[in-house]
Symmetry: C2
Subunit: 262 residues, 2 copies
């Protein structure tokens, strides 16, 4: 598993250095703010949710596949937001969407007997996610030179609690809730530049997901790719290397800081 | 001037201890987040703006009363926001209101010859305000135990740049721009609880202005008063001591932290 990660990271780095040096320098030149995808890019949601599920199951004397539970929960993520994006649901925060998804999967894992308090506490597993090992130190370094903010689908309370838990030193919290749109709606990306009163080209979106970066690029943001090959556990095949939507590719957040001279 | 400050602070502290001990303990009991007025409460806008105006005047070889300029600029603050609050102006950020006010007062101080770049830079004086001496250390202490956020009329970019300049370690930025209402509209105070997903009674508003605290209290927030007797220079008579709208009164942010056991 560690081997897979290193190989994929090396591949990403190699691909990163194949981005033209000119393009990377042009991208870095005017950047004043960095905005980050969070779930998967900054924090390792899968092993963290699995840990909380396994701990709960142990307390209840049950046997549950924590990682499978995390995967099942996350599998409902995009479809739930799509319901909001297409008008099938009115604006609903991610905390509330997480709860709707959770209520659906609890019975599938033999956990329908949880109390309301236990269920609510489990829903807050998304407020207690471990950062990737480089995330907090890389952000602290980037913060000295840039405005740094999450640009996540997570609501403000979720992002604020998560930042406290994981030691993420954001300057402010941007993202879906402020404009009541979910990524990849263009309103979210555009709002980052608008709220910071910067030109889109002076804001760089950092993500481990190429779809996120493509959407950011379509409104004029700069883009930086950081591969997180273990986001979905071992054996991942998508989003291992940058593509044409990427201005800069970095091995991790400290490497990103170095490439941005921070 | 320093004497005035100390006397007023002592008076505020004495008045604070006359708030019933039970009320202070009840107020502190369930508080999970502290939200702060910023201009005047966290930062000393008057001497900071005066400093920037004086520096600009010196560069231009002009003689300008910096403190008088700051006072004249600030005098247009409430009337400008009132225009937005009553529908005379559409939603306009404080950065843009500051610029409209600035354009009005520049000629009055013999500064109508500034270039656009000089005027824009001067408008950003509000992004470079000195914190009161206790503010950054008190906030750092409070942050360990509470979510801390500005609940200001300043827009996100202004608050984020100011926090970086003054070393204010906010967990997130709340306030007027997120709901497109200016304080004392109730929507702003209510939004603090809503965005943080807390009961109003679990959020404490901290301000040096009793009007702000009265409005916060009217939507159910807890209130803490910190006197800033020198906000408008020497000789201030308003807002020197807490009144019935105040749950807790503190001498400064470190004293507030002590009272909240942080």
């Amino acid at each position: 598993m560690i081997g897979t990660g290193l190989v994929a990271a090396d591949r990403a780095q190699a691909a990163g250095s194949s981005q033209s040096r000119e393009r990377q320098q042009a991208a870095a030149g005017s950047v004043k703010a960095l905005v980050f995808d969070v779930f998967g890019t900054v924090v390792d949601w899968r092993s963290s949710v699995a840990r909380d599920v396994n701990a709960l199951a142990a307390r209840k004397g049950l046997k549950v596949d924590g990682a499978g539970f995390a995967d099942a929960w996350r599998a409902l993520y995009a479809p739930s937001m799509d319901k909001v994006r297409t008008g099938g649901l009115p604006w609903t925060t991610l905390d509330d969407l997480h709860r709707m998804m959770l209520d659906r999967i609890l019975p599938e894992f033999g956990l329908s007997g949880l109390s309301e308090a236990e269920t609510a506490a489990l829903n807050r597993a998304w407020h207690r996610l471990q950062p990737w090992p480089d995330a907090a130190s890389g952000l602290a370094r980037l913060k000295k030179q840039f405005i740094i903010a999450p640009l996540s689908n997570g609501n403000i309370a979720l992002m604020a609690n998560l930042a406290k838990y994981a030691g993420l030193p954001w300057d402010c919290i941007l993202g879906a809730e402020l404009v009541r749109h979910y990524k990849p709606d263009r309103e979210v990306y555009q709002s980052a530049a608008d709220f910071l009163r910067l030109d889109a080209a002076d804001v760089m979106m950092v993500a481990a997901h190429l779809g996120d970066l493509r959407a950011a690029r379509s409104v004029g943001l700069r883009t930086a790719f950081v591969a997180r090959p273990l986001e979905y556990g071992p054996g991942r095949t998508a989003d291992l290397a940058p593509d044409a939507s990427v201005d800069m590719a970095a091995k991790d957040f400290n490497d990103l800081a170095a490439r941005l001279n921070a």
